[in-house]
């Protein structure tokens, strides 16, 4: 995850409170989804950015996991194409696995 974006996530978590934040990812592969999810929950696994050693435990989801939560027409328009070409199950399973391990909020 981009180092500047790590700083923004850290600052916004402090500003609004971790319990009020949700991070939504649009990553194209399970591996990058997992690394980004880990960064905003357990901390930066590469130890390169501001979130190194900082376990925010934020709620984190991939956009694909939220398909049933958002307006169906808007979802199809904005995400339908990528849903057809990306490995949705692998991405969703990876993000859920990280969330189950490191998210501080179980709701």
């Amino acid at each position: 995850m981009d180092l500047e974006n790590q700083k923004r996530v850290l600052d916004l978590s402090e500003k609004y409170g971790k319990e009020n934040i949700a991070v939504i990812l649009g990553t194209s592969e399970a591996e990058s989804a997992g690394l980004t999810a880990e960064t905003v929950t357990a901390g930066d696994p590469t130890y390169a950015g501001p979130l190194a050693g900082v376990s925010l435990g934020l709620r984190v989801y991939h956009m694909f996991e939220l398909k049933d939560q958002v307006d169906a027409n808007v979802y199809d328009e904005q995400c339908g194409m990528m849903e057809m070409v990306l490995d949705v199950d692998a991405i969703n399973n990876e993000v859920k696995s990280i969330r189950d391990q490191y998210c501080q909020f179980k709701d």
Binding site: M1, D2, N5, R8, V9, L12, Y16, N20, I21, A22, V23, I24, L25, G26, T27, S28, E29, S32, T36, V40, R59, Y61, M63, L66, Q69, V70, D71, V74, Y75, E77, Q78, C79, M82, L86, D107
Partner: protein
């Protein structure tokens, strides 16, 4: 799940970019406080 939450969007140029996620999130009453599209390659 998202209602009344402050949402941070990390989009992907090769996946779903931030503006597309933002359009979806706005339909459930969440507030987008930061949105960026990264390139993970």
């Amino acid at each position: 799940m998202l209602k009344d939450k402050k949402v941070i969007i990390i989009g992907d140029r090769d996946g779903i970019p931030a503006p597309a996620i933002e359009e979806c999130v706005k339909t459930v009453g969440a507030e987008v406080v930061f949105a960026a599209t990264e390139c993970f390659v």
